[in-house]
């Protein structure tokens, strides 16, 4: 479609700069100057002059690049050690979280899990399997405990499998001594310290739930708070120290080892072998003897 620029002859135009009287060709040239390359575009396609780039086959942008001035910008990269620490922490936390989710998928279908001997063993074996593949530190375990309470990060906290998973993390951690500061945790996690092995020392600040330190296998478990029921059940050897009070069924089916309670023992379970102390006084077996509390 042709476009013509017409100037009304009937108007007299006065401009600040004096125009010379223009011939039709001059006016067209002036129009071309004003309109620039767009004049060509308005002609029928057959009449349009081809751009050199089009004839050569090399495409060039038809429109101006609106981001042109940023073409030379390079993002300043300045990493500080914090960045890599946070990154690796995130990666590890992700791995730990995935392990836990897989454990739940396998062992806590429909989010229901019963505390029974066989379920505990099975869940622990599954947890071990996933935990072995991850490299983590003691602080990661603590962070995981807190992450469990944050439903945005980990949707489901099921105390049994969670405790077993944490116990597996503790048992497979590279450190011999692990400190978990859990006093700000709102939930009391069950089954912490499960099968704590010889040479391992697990110090928990805060209260723990049921079945704390069950099946301890020579390790040392210290709870700087209260423990609930079934503490030390089935432990084989090692030490459990609870600074404050302890619940019922303490030491149920205990095979060996020692339990020291700084506060009150609500009730003892059926103990096979081993010792239980309440406020430095031996309460099982019957005679009171001063224990050797060498911590």
């Amino acid at each position: 479609m042709e476009t013509t620029l017409s100037i009304k002859r009937s108007k007299r135009i006065s401009k600040g700069a004096s125009p010379k009287s223009a011939s039709p060709q001059d006016r067209t040239n002036e129009a071309r100057t004003i309109l620039g390359e767009n004049v060509d575009r308005m002609k029928p396609i057959s009449l349009q002059t081809k751009e050199p780039s089009e004839t050569s086959g090399h495409k060039e942008p038809r429109f101006k690049n609106p981001f042109e001035e940023f073409g030379t910008y390079a993002l300043p990269q300045k990493d500080i050690p914090l960045d890599s620490i946070v990154r690796s922490t995130e990666v590890v936390m992700d791995q730990i979280r995935r392990g836990y989710e897989k454990l739940l998928e396998e062992e806590a279908k429909e989010l229901v899990w019963m505390v029974q001997y066989n379920t505990i063993i099975k869940a622990y074996e599954v947890a071990e399997r996933y935990v072995r593949e991850i490299e983590y530190s003691a602080e990661d375990i603590e962070d995981f405990c807190f992450a469990l309470e944050n439903t945005r990060k980990i949707p489901y906290l099921i105390p049994g499998p969670a405790g077993l998973y944490i116990s597996a993390l503790c048992n497979y951690a590279s450190e011999e001594e692990i400190l978990l500061k859990l006093s700000e945790l709102k939930t009391e996690i069950n089954l912490l310290g499960f099968r704590l092995s010889k040479g391992k020392r697990l110090l928990i600040e805060g209260d723990t739930g049921d079945f704390t330190g069950i099946g301890v296998e020579g390790g040392e478990l210290i709870v700087e708070g209260n423990a609930k029921n079934w503490t030390g059940a089935g432990m084989r050897s090692g030490k459990i120290l609870v600074r404050k009070n302890i619940g019922l069924h303490t030491g149920e089916w205990m095979m060996g080892g020692e339990i020291f309670v700084g506060g009150r023992v609500r009730g003892l379970g059926n103990i096979v072998e081993g010792k239980v102390y309440e406020r430095e006084k031996l309460i099982y077996p019957g005679k009171a003897r001063s224990p050797n509390l060498n911590y």
């Binding site: 009937s10 108007k11 007299r12 135009i13 006065s14 401009k15 600040g16 700069a17 004096s18 495409k59 942008p61 429109f63 690049n65 609106p66 981001f67 042109e68 001035e69 940023f70 073409g71 030379t72 910008y73 390079a74 993002l75 300043p76």
Partner: protein, 444 residues
């Protein structure tokens, strides 16, 4: 970046107005220096051929400040400026504003136009523009937009022009300036109350108008405007008279007003000043927040923003309308002017941050909720300018947090535009969405 000493001269003009003619407090701090926003922005309007809306209470120097600026930048005596002003009242006619038929020739059956001083003079002042009916407001703004003035099929074209329009706050005697018209103004400023002491000073001293008056030259101007010679010849003659007046001012006041070639040179220098990356990215960020709507494609004043939208933390949630394309033009013009004035080689964030409130305040329609929440806040500026300053502060805070990533996104956009096969960067801000849309448009 001082090349020809023009900044110094303009500063001298600023100093003369500030110290002797228009008494007011500095209310704008830029780069550690304080300026009065009315004088500074008016200077830039005059230099940049902009359109300025000056608001304020009656009698606070709205018109006077514009008159002084026009007189010193364009070298017209005050008497000529006064004679060229259009005053806003409902009975204004096209004949009083633009031109009228030559009655003598009309009676003989010939058409000839007697142009008003308003159309002939480059520096135009309209007093109380909001008292004009809409049609007349539109007529003036159309004319100043293009520099064309037409009457009875005759036309004159101003090569150089700027517009100062004053308006009182809304009262029973005024019309509203409707949105499409108010959008044509580049900036809106307030001529503030100068404070009791300065106000007393104004009252105590004699009027200073006489400093910029020159009766002899004024008579020459009147004669010239009335004459029948062609407008292009008038312009040359006008320039001679202006230069003569300029020499008078220099002798009398020690300040050199600007001649036409000076103004042209200044404009050329200003045009050479570009945005630095931060200023460019921030301006884009602000524009994106202003006009973006994830749900409806863009902001429209007839569509309401729904609650619960993901972007409800951004400026688009607080605003009803969309930014016009005149806004970035105004921002660029005035930021360039400011950077030039401050002798900076590039427009940076501080320039942009300083001019945006004045270029944006009259163009925004805020949601009622925002108005009601902020109307009782303590402030020194009129409410529209205050709201925009607060909004700019918040957007700038967002910019500081993610400036690197934003610039990186724009850099990646540039590379994609050049043909590299990269993915546009993701981010929460509307600007990332805009970049993606532009790149999709490029692909198609």
């Amino acid at each position: 970046m001082e090349k020809n000493g023009y900044q110094k001269r303009v500063r001298e003009i600023y100093g003369l107005i500030h110290d002797h003619l228009y008494f007011n407090r500095p209310d704008l701090e830029i780069k550690g220096e304080k300026y009065n926003s009315a004088i500074l922005l008016s200077l830039l309007t005059a230099l940049k051929q902009g359109k300025e809306l000056i608001i304020g209470e009656p009698g606070l120097g709205k018109t006077t400040s514009a008159e002084f600026i026009c007189s010193l930048i364009y070298q017209f005596p005050l008497g000529v400026i006064w004679a060229s002003e259009v005053s806003g009242h409902p009975e204004q006619t096209e004949e009083k504003i633009i031109g009228r038929p030559d009655l003598g020739k009309l009676n003989q059956g010939e058409e000839d136009v007697v142009w008003t001083n308003f159309t002939q003079i480059p520096a135009k002042i309209v007093d109380e523009i909001n008292r004009l009916p809409e049609t007349k407001q539109s007529m003036i703004l159309d004319g100043v937009d293009r520099g064309n003035w037409e009457y009875l099929n005759e036309m004159i074209i101003n090569e150089e022009y700027c517009l100062f329009a004053t308006a009182n706050y809304q009262d029973g005697g005024t019309n509203t300036i409707i949105a499409p018209l108010v959008d044509r103004f580049d900036v809106m400023i307030e001529s503030k109350y100068p404070g009791a002491n300065l106000s007393f000073q104004v009252g105590k001293n004699n009027r200073k108008d006489h400093l910029l008056r020159h009766p002899k030259t004024e008579k020459e101007f009147h004669r010239l405007f009335k004459s029948k010679i062609a407008y292009e010849k008038k312009v040359d003659k006008m320039e001679e008279l202006c230069n003569a007046f300029g020499e008078f001012v220099q002798e009398a006041l020690g300040v050199r007003p600007l001649q036409k070639q000076d103004r042209d040179q200044i404009r050329a220098e200003m045009e050479d000043i570009g945005f630095d990356l931060d200023a460019s990215a921030f301006t884009r960020m602000l524009l994106a927040e202003f006009s973006f709507c994830e749900r409806y494609g863009q902001k429209r004043s007839v569509e309401t923003c729904e609650e619960g939208c993901h972007f409800s933390g951004y400026l688009c949630h607080d605003i009803k309308n969309c930014a016009s394309n005149r806004l970035p033009t105004s921002i660029r013009q005035y930021a360039q002017g400011l950077a030039w004035f401050l002798q900076d080689s590039e427009i940076d964030l501080e320039h942009v941050k300083s001019v945006i409130p004045y270029t944006l305040a009259h163009r925004v329609q805020w949601r009622d909720q925002v108005l009601s929440q902020k109307e009782r806040a303590r402030r020194d500026d009129p409410f529209p300018i205050y709201l925009v300053k607060e909004a700019v502060r918040v957007v700038l805070q967002r910019y500081r947090e993610q400036s690197d990533h934003l610039k990186d996104a724009l850099a990646v956009g540039s590379r994609i535009f050049q043909g590299e096969s990269l993915e546009p960067l993701d981010g929460d801000h509307p600007l990332y969405q805009e970049i993606k849309k532009d790149l999709e448009g490029r692909k198609s």
